[in-house]
Symmetry: C2
Subunit: 442 residues, 2 copies
């Protein structure tokens, strides 16, 4: 399905001297880039963009869409000052089938577009995506377009409604009938999209789709821009984050990622940096002696924190890749092995006993087994999170590397190896029982 | 969709004094049990079975179907000696919607039924599954029902056709219209199902579905029974089997599984036995000294061979389980760790050097990494096999444990650890490049 993006207005509260609002950057991607890439995640590859105010800047930035792996065409609206209805109307000659209409300043979850594409509307109807969460703090109630919905049909729509039970999200599934309604409203001197929507709704031809729990936000001013940024960072958390990750690592890595996002960094290079820190950690342990092993511990913890950044940057900038994920997992395991080997050798200098090696062997085996069984265990955790059950404990890399850090600071590497051996292998046995129970139920 | 199984005939060439043909055992499950469980794999849970000759034996064996997790009802046909058309006709009052018709002596792939259930036939048509591989050696050309097909419609059907271009597989998607055709043929004194099919085909109402590469076999005599067994064992091979597995381990494990299949063994117990042998192997290495480490090597190889049996028995007897697969993977990794630990300690007795431990550490890391990356790599191998491209090399557990065996017999455990360290870690790096290339293409 094709997408029409309206990017012609001035957006007076957020534009600056140089750029129109659709080019405002958020974590290294401008608003309209985020909208294109988000729609692409939902399988959409054909875009028409209506430009007006400083349209040449937008054309210059987005181009043919090749860079994003999509096709972009432009429609120029010289009358952009009249209202957004005129901008939509300019697309009349170019769209003969159903299309999705998006605003260039509304961010949203791709699952909304995924579901919208599955809806088969009657040929003379349009569908407006609405948000029923009236108490949400994602929008400024004075600025938004309000909707009165009855039986999944829009009865009233407009900014000035006194009575309303839903919010207009700016996401539409349109049939070309919208152009007739626009023609009618423009001929009456009403230039907003809402005016045309009111005409459709008077005829019972504007239906609604409730976006449920999904996220959307109208980036309208400094305040909503900050909210949007906060939510995008919030979305970087994973349901499988362990306790140390949740309460510490993720908070710092997200902070780092938000700074790094402005640079043009390949996430795989961050994976290599995190790995390199783990190699350094193993090396400092290997060199042995008290101050050095503390540095080793710090390096391990730092590597653990940075380990989140590659995925965060990838998700934040739509740069996820199957190979990136694979590389991260493989290097994490080698990093674990090098850190444990370094710690074991540090102990061997001091004690030179078979027990040290045994502890190292068992710690390595247990660490690997936790990672080896992570996929199945995480599936179980995710299904629990999905069913909103109480989260289960997750003994992951975040905890293991924190144990290493504490052990190094306390200069107790042998004890650390023994603790790692026990907690990882016991956890592996616990998972065996948890999953046996789980698989029996399913 | 409901399934009707015809199990009323005598099957004179294969029945014995005690059992009717549907109760002939093949690897611990009788023919009709295999048919029910195979259909269950295709998502079917409701069965009607027409019984006649020694029907009480069949009812006694299968019961309500609870044991198989399905529902079974019986229809008794006292006129079973007349012909199989009469048996189908007896189901008339019980089947008001489309159903699948199966013979109690025809084995087949469940993918045939999976696809058949997706076909929506016209209401007055039946669909016959046909095999176009006329040169197949799975059947005796004199005994089978032949078909002349034109434009996906049956033109002629019968055992005595001179001209034919397909074989009747005995698998049908029937609409209740089949009962009208049967009524007509029976009233003319023709009691076979083929006679009714000829009536349908005369009216252009018998269409065909080509089963393509899928397996089916009519178990009609000693010869086809042996063929069926051979094929079932052949199907136990996996596209991800490594070279040692393909040429040696799998052949022996399949032989063992075919014997064990007669017993009522839980596949998970076989997993535990294979693990126990690996523990013994590690223990013999740990005890050290020349004759003992040879025993350790033998135990490792034996464990490697038996490692195939759990999955083979599970697949052969429809006892696959998610937990069984998980348990097998987890215990295999602990088995690997114990064998490498045992070998390392055996070397430490003789050399007591840090290099031995280092080699053990690296061998353990590499072995784990091969298993850790197996899922992604196997996905790639399977997609290659699916596209019929030349198989890629797979450095798996079969090769590792053979190296251990050879190293033990030659009394070269340290060299073995070094070889394992190198081949496993190099292979892991090779996979990184192979998969980077693969993911870039996809």
């Amino acid at each position: 399905m094709e997408v029409l993006i309206i990017a012609a207005g001035r957006g007076s509260r957020l534009n600056n001297r140089f750029s129109p609002k659709p080019l405002i950057p958020i974590f290294g991607l401008c608003l309209i880039e985020r909208i294109i890439l988000r729609a692409k995640s939902a399988g959409i590859t054909k875009f028409k963009i209506v430009v007006g105010y400083k349209g040449d800047r937008i054309v210059e930035k987005i181009g043919t869409g090749d860079r994003y792996g999509v096709h972009v065409n432009y429609i120029f609206n010289s009358e952009w000052e009249k209202g957004n209805g005129v901008s939509v109307y300019k697309a009349k000659g170019f769209l003969k089938e159903n299309f999705i209409l998006l605003m260039s300043d509304h961010l949203f979850d791709d699952s909304i577009l995924r579901k919208l594409q599955q809806i088969e509307p009657e040929s003379d109807c349009c569908i407006l995506c609405v948000d029923r969460r009236l108490n949400s703090d994602h929008f400024n109630i004075d600025d938004i377009t309000k909707v009165w919905v009855e039986n999944n049909k829009v009865k009233e729509i407009g900014k000035g409604l006194d009575r309303f039970n839903a919010i207009d999200t700016g996401i539409f599934l349109c049939s070309p009938v919208i152009f007739n309604a626009l023609e009618e409203s423009i001929s009456k001197g009403k230039y907003s999209l809402s005016a045309a929507n009111q005409i459709l709704s008077n005829r019972g031809k504007l239906k609604t789709y409730d976006i449920g729990d999904n996220f959307w936000i109208d980036v309208d001013d400094r305040e909503t821009l900050q909210k949007a940024k906060k939510i995008l960072l919030e979305q970087l958390k994973k349901p499988t984050d362990g306790p140390i990750s949740k309460s510490f690592n993720r908070k710092i890595s997200v902070m780092i990622s938000s700074k790094l996002s402005r640079l043009n960094i390949n996430p795989n290079h961050l994976t290599l940096i995190s790995f390199f820190l783990a190699v350094l950690s193993g090396l400092f342990f290997f060199l042995g002696g008290y101050p050095k092993i503390v540095i080793g511990g710090f390096m391990a913890q730092l590597s653990s924190i940075l380990d989140g950044c590659d995925g965060e940057i990838a998700r934040l900038k739509f740069k996820q890749s199957k190979f990136g994920e694979y590389l991260d997992r493989v290097l994490d395991r080698y990093a674990d092995a090098l850190i444990i080997l370094g710690m074991t050798i540090a102990c061997v200098y001091k004690m030179e006993t078979i027990w040290v090696w045994l502890a190292g062997f068992l710690a390595l085996t247990g660490s690997f087994m936790i990672s080896y069984t992570a996929m199945q265990y995480d599936e179980f955790l995710i299904s629990k999170a999905f069913n909103k059950k109480k989260a289960s404990f997750r003994m992951g890399r975040d905890i293991r590397l924190l144990i290493v850090f504490i052990g190094a600071v306390l200069n107790q590497l042998f004890a650390t190896l023994i603790i790692l051996s026990i907690v990882t292998n016991v956890e592996c046995i616990r998972r065996l029982f948890v999953l046996r129970h789980e698989y029996k139920l399913s």
